[in-house]
Amino acid sequence: MHNPQLNARGELTHLLTLEGLPVEVIVRILDTAVPFVSIAERDVKKVPLLRGKAVFNLFFESSTRTRTTFEIAAKRLSADVINLNIGVSSTSKGETLLDTIDNLVAMNADMFVVRHAQSGAPHLIAQHLLATRRPHIHVINAGDGRHSHPTQGLLDLFTIRHYKQDFRGLTVAIVGDILHSRVARSLIHGLTTLGTPEVRVIGPRTLLPAAVESLGVRVFHDMGEGLRGADVVVMLRLQSERMKGSLLPSAGEFFKHYGLTADKLALAKPDAIVMHPGPMNRGVEIESAVADGAHSVILPQVTFGIAVRMAVMSMLGTSQ
């Protein structure tokens, strides 16, 4: 099956998901991000790579955090950034998703950064652009439903590589609501592609999707067991609507079994790092002592996130 993210020359032309991306492409993105980290430390944080290009942030699902980091990344590349907060699905406003895209293309968009509540929306856009012969317009998936959040996956990989160097000896534990998490899916694809030998998912049965082992992970329901000897602990955000009802009885009980405390962290390796995609629910997924403690690399994740997004945008924006 044709990989819609790569053009005929095997170059990245969209970033829709980490699933199916060749190792070389992922590594190249991580390598390209390295110099962008140091640019953030200069006085002039801009480089002219995307000067004259128009980047449209199309957020059908609102998120100030993610949108802001993409905006910063694009502006540091000297691109023009236009933010469109469509908020609810465009279909309820009468204009279809693809009509919205066509209108923006007519306004000379070069790149779309898309967040949508439905899995597959960025793929639909990419296919539409291919079908209507616009190979110079690129799509970056900023999160689609529960399917994929590839730039988050990449910044997580970058963070792990920064602190641990080689994926090939690592045990990585991902904890929480895997069922609804695009962050988890993306990270799992990235880790397995880069040769991580042990990727663990930890959570109650209600929050694990069917056949999750087929993604290449080991399942744990006991957090203590799952954290034992881990090099990296990734805590997922628990959405408030999941905290009561038929999937989980309460945030309190979730914290008791699956919240990251210093005691539980002590079961991991002594030099384990703690990650979280943010925003954190303190006292639900993670206790403050750990979030603010020595093992936490949660704030560096944010910094690396801008560099990684700059890398992705510059690679796409300068491809043929």
Binding site: T91, Q118, S119, L124, H128, G145, H147, R185, A210, V212
Partner: protein, 427 residues
């Protein structure tokens, strides 16, 4: 058009209902088959239909074809869909009651039948709504609806809700011998799901429908059928566990029948690829093991028949993110080639395969069709099993151009379709 004396010659006549599979000529006059083999005395031929290299079989019968009238004319009309039917060799079809308004009143049923009759193409047998408005609360006037022409009662694709209502509806239907055709689907377990609960839905991050949503309902409906004595037909099985349960129910003596949609016979969830909405179907495409069980069940008769589940969907409704797109696919013109494809791949004898789209659906619908006999209406399909054609927007006559088989080459082209002795399609 005045009736002509027709002779269909040189064809291989396959009539599963009468266990016929032989080269023979058919003689048709005044809308009926008047002789098989040799011409009747005093015969003068008006037209010869040369069926060399072709199979001559009873006109195909499709138990589930949405014609989209009344109410959804922007998706399809009777004109386009009836043309599609006869292009596919289908001479009798049953249409589900989920029109707008639903077929819960005799007047609507009569209007539909009248409209269909005026087109002089395939026979249309409406399926009446089991409950008013398909809401699952009050039962419909099944007597009146049956008199108006409904051959069975169903809730279309609405998942069964209140089991007490179901119990009463089936008891009432059983009182008068009405058939009850139901999609086994637990409303709560299927809530919001759009794909089979398996590896593919997990990878793609799609809300899932577990197989037990269907199998729990199969158990419930069979239990209710046992208790009420209703003539139950389970529509559109998709899970291997359901096939097994029906096999056991039949073995235990329960008079239950079931069908499968052609899409589920050939496809499974991996075909969704990167969120291709053409593969968004209801019931969903399940796994390889399910597909294998459906095929085996169709071969050994546990599954009585295969249908198209013809559901024309307009392009706009498919050009949306997967979960927002409308499920369904066009299928009337694909029923024959897809049945032949299954038969070829699984080494099923042609008469057995054709039975699943002729004699068996006729039996379940309770209509005098699906067979070739002297004195019977001449509803005939003449097709070339070796003629390959490409499924594309131009070759499809249905107004719905959305099918997962777009771009595929299939074998089995209908050359002639006759309804009541008239040639209504010729290619």
């Amino acid at each position: 058009m005045t009736a002509t004396n027709l002779e269909i010659r040189n064809g291989r006549v396959v009539d599963p209902a009468n266990a016929v599979d032989a080269k023979a000529s058919l003689f048709i006059a005044e809308g009926k088959v008047v002789a098989i083999g040799a011409a009747p005395p005093g015969w003068t031929t008006g037209r010869i239909v040369d069926a060399v290299g072709c199979v001559v079989c009873p006109g195909l019968i499709d138990v589930a074809a949405r014609l989209r009238e009344p109410g959804f004319e922007y998706k399809a009309t009777l004109e386009s869909e009836m043309a599609a039917a006869v292009a596919g060799g289908v001479t009798s079809l049953a249409c589900p009651p989920d029109t707008d308004p639903p077929l819960d009143e005799p007047g609507l049923v009569e209007m539909l039948k009248h409209r269909a009759r005026s087109l002089n193409l395939a026979h249309v047998y409406p399926i009446g709504a089991l409950t008013v408005g398909l809401k699952g609360e009050a039962i419909t006037e099944m007597g009146e609806l049956a008199e108006a022409g409904c051959i069975a009662f169903s809730q279309a694709d609405a998942p069964q809700a209140d089991s007490q209502v179901l119990l009463h509806a089936m008891q009432y239907a059983a009182t008068f011998g009405h058939r009850v055709w139901l999609r086994p689907l637990d409303a709560h377990l299927a809530r919001d799901g759009v794909a089979h609960d398996g590896e593919v839905a997990t990878r793609l991050g799609l809300a899932a429908i577990p197989s037990c949503a269907e199998t729990i309902a199969v158990d419930t409906l069979c239990a209710l059928a046992r208790v009420t004595g209703a003539r139950l037909h389970l529509a559109r099985l998709s899970a291997h566990e359901s096939v097994q349960r029906v096999r056991e129910a039949k073995r235990s003596g329960l008079d239950v029948t079931c069908d499968v949609a052609a899409n589920n016979v050939h496809l499974c969830d991996t075909d969704i690829g990167w969120f291709d909405a053409h593969y968004h179907l209801d019931p969903p495409l399940r796994g390889g093991r399910d597909r294998a069980a459906l095929r085996a069940g169709l071969a050994d008769g546990t599954i009585d028949l295969v249908c198209s589940d013809h559901t024309p969907v307009d392009d706009d409704a498919k050009q949306l993110p997967f979960a927002e797109s409308e499920p369904g696919a066009t299928g009337l013109e694909l029923l024959l080639p897809l049945t032949l494809k299954w038969a070829r791949e699984d080494a099923v004898a042609l008469p057995v395969a054709l039975s699943r789209i002729t004699a068996d659906p006729a039996r379940i619908m309770g209509i005098d069709a699906g067979h070739i006999a002297v004195g019977a209406p001449a509803d005939i399909c003449v097709f070339d099993p070796e003629a390959w054609w490409t499924v594309d927007r131009r070759s499809l006559k249905s107004q719905g151009k959305n099918t997962p088989f777009l771009g595929l080459e299939l074998a089995g082209k209908v050359r002639f379709t006759l309804v009541a002795g008239q040639i209504v399609h010729e290619a």
